[in-house]
């Protein structure tokens, strides 16, 4: 089976000091290497989680996939078509099948549009239906995400945080996309809302046959939603595995550190904590070799050598010299 969505060596560098200094020819321009050669695949109907901490480049991957920003190099293929080479009109037609839900449910809604206008907008852009068909569709989609039609004429400021995130999800699925990129859809939500949105997303995937790329730093949420997990650190993937396997046998020291830092609601159940030293280095001066080297408690001399993902068990890939 060929994957629905795939990236190949996806790279995004943001040049630094590219303004007047570069124009005057002032030496080599350095860059923030936000995404540095990420290759991943998402099969039809599955949820792939892309996990990592702030600044690791996971949202940049999402934005590059949707071409909200242009990748520096690498390929993004969706349903066999290379999105990077599409002209703007062809890309726009493709967007109907590839939608996104953003992290901040408030900031990602236009405060001057009613719920109806918000949900109808993608229909207006991507479908040929009449106004009354769009109205019906907006009502249906709202019901699908668990909101009543009475909210159609409300503005975002009249909604609660959970309702806003549901409207965002409704907007994303209005055009019956095949794939939705979810960028931390639950991280701005409270405990009980988080649980509801997780269950809603999983239910929608099953009912509507959606494929998700789920971007998150919340490993517990990932465990509930994802079939496979890719762990990202400082612009590159360090581990990739089926979810159950990853939680049972995390191999990369970074994955193990992340898992051991998640607090568990059982008093006294203090697990062995793998502590990373300090904070992630800047994505400008990335050390050669393994990028975790400076923070890894297990680092050895060999870690200065370049390291690539390799398959150590079935479908379980890890990029670490010491595994």
């Amino acid at each position: 089976m060929s994957p629905l969505l795939a990236t190949e060596n996806l790279t995004k560098h943001f040049p630094l000091g590219g303004g007047w200094r570069a124009a005057l020819g002032g030496g080599g321009v350095s860059a923030v290497r936000a995404v540095d050669g990420v290759t991943l695949t998402v099969e039809t109907g599955e949820t792939l989680a892309l996990v990592g901490e702030s600044g690791c480049g996971k949202s940049t991957v999402a934005r590059c996939i949707l071409r909200l920003i242009e990748p520096t190099s690498g390929r993004v293929s969706f349903d066999g078509v290379d999105l990077a080479t599409l002209d703007p009109e062809a890309l726009r037609r493709r967007r109907r099948d590839l939608q996104m839900v953003f992290q901040d449910p408030t900031a990602s809604l236009n405060p001057r549009l009613t719920v109806r206008a918000t949900v109808e907008e993608p229909l207006l852009l991507h479908t040929a239906g009449t106004a009354s068909e769009r109205r019906d569709r907006a009502r249906d989609v709202l019901l699908t995400v668990g909101l009543g039609a009475e909210l159609l004429d409300r503005y975002p400021h009249e909604l609660s945080g959970g309702q806003r995130q549901r409207v965002n999800i409704a907007r994303a699925i209005a055009t019956t996309p095949r794939c939705v990129v979810l960028d931390e859809p639950t991280s701005a939500l409270d405990v009980s809302l988080r649980a509801r949105i997780i269950l809603l997303l999983d239910d929608l995937r099953a009912r509507l046959g959606l494929t998700y790329l789920f971007i998150s730093h919340d490993l517990a949420t990932v465990k509930y939603l994802a079939r496979r997990v890719a762990v990202m650190y400082l612009g590159t993937l360090v581990e990739q595995s089926p979810t159950a396997e990853l939680f049972a046998h995390p191999l990369h020291p970074y994955t193990r550190a992340l898992l051991s830092a998640v607090p568990v609601p059982v008093p006294g159940a203090r697990r062995e904590r793998i502590r990373l030293i300090g904070e992630p280095p800047s994505a400008v001066d990335i050390p050669p070799g393994c990028r975790l080297r400076g923070r890894c408690p297990l680092a050895e001399a060999v870690c200065a050598e370049p390291v690539a993902l390799r398959e150590v068990a079935k479908d379980h890939f890890v990029a670490c010299h010491l595994v």
């Binding site: 409270d190 009980s192 649980a195 269950l199 490993l219 607090p263 568990v264 008093p267 203090r270």
Partner: protein, 327 residues
Amino acid sequence: MTPLLEIRDLTVQFRTPDGVVHAVDRASLSVGRGEIVGLVGESGSGKSVTALAVLRLIRPPGRIVDGSIRFDGRDLLTISEDEMRHVRGGQISMVFQSPRTALNPVVSVGRQIARLYELHQGCTSTEARRRTLDMLGLVGLSESGRLGSQYAHQLSGGMCQRVMIAMALATSPRLLLADEPTTGLDVSIAAQILDLLRDLGRQTGAAILLITHDLGVVAETCDRVAIMHAGQIVECGDVRSIFGRPAHPYTQALIRAIPRIDTDVAMEPIPGTVPSLLAPPPGCRYSGRCPLVMEACVLTPERRQLGGGHEVACHAVQVADVAAARD
């Protein structure tokens, strides 16, 4: 021995154009010396308002309507504003949720800490500077010489929170109010900050009231916990009792709503939403969401002792059953 902080029947209301918001309703809570107590609930449950009331930072249209807040034997609600200013920042300090916005953007972080030593302890600027460097070292910002002259926008979220903690501890307070100190931080950084709070609490003997909606954080950090719903404290006790034998239906629902990485138990959202505090239901405010609701719930349930300091305010809980479960 009397507890360090004892909140009794605290009632806070906000007058708004739409009516009176009953933000905190007869909440009682105590924090012992050197103890770490969690205050847990959903957004809008009144956790932060409770903390602000302790510092007497409730501003109009908000008002503390009733209750007492005894700190080290003194009622903070009756002392003069002048005395309160010494308590605030001196004996009780606070760590806020978004460290970057809580720090002054146009004053270097070192200067912000040093100012506390000058104000609260009458230090000379040289002395304040020396102590600031020590403090930055204590919170794990070791290259503190350079860091002290930096501004909030130059630091990461985790570093800003360390600076906030340094500021909060600079005056050797006896009580630290930490309002969601790790929300918005990455897991590994959050774990570092919680370790730091716990270690520093132990070293300095400061008690901590930790406000959070994350029960995992409570289980790993706190000695005792109080569960708050819509302005009412529904259950409190030591963490082992609360997590081992949660008695209140809301506590049970909260625990079931957490996605777990340690087990495969199903996750269930809490039914309903936090009721509007403009017109909360009479009696138990959880009654509208509660599967065990009965007629008696229109009356405010008394807090009952379940043994070992475990208290619950719920008509449906059979004390005998809980006691049997304990044995």
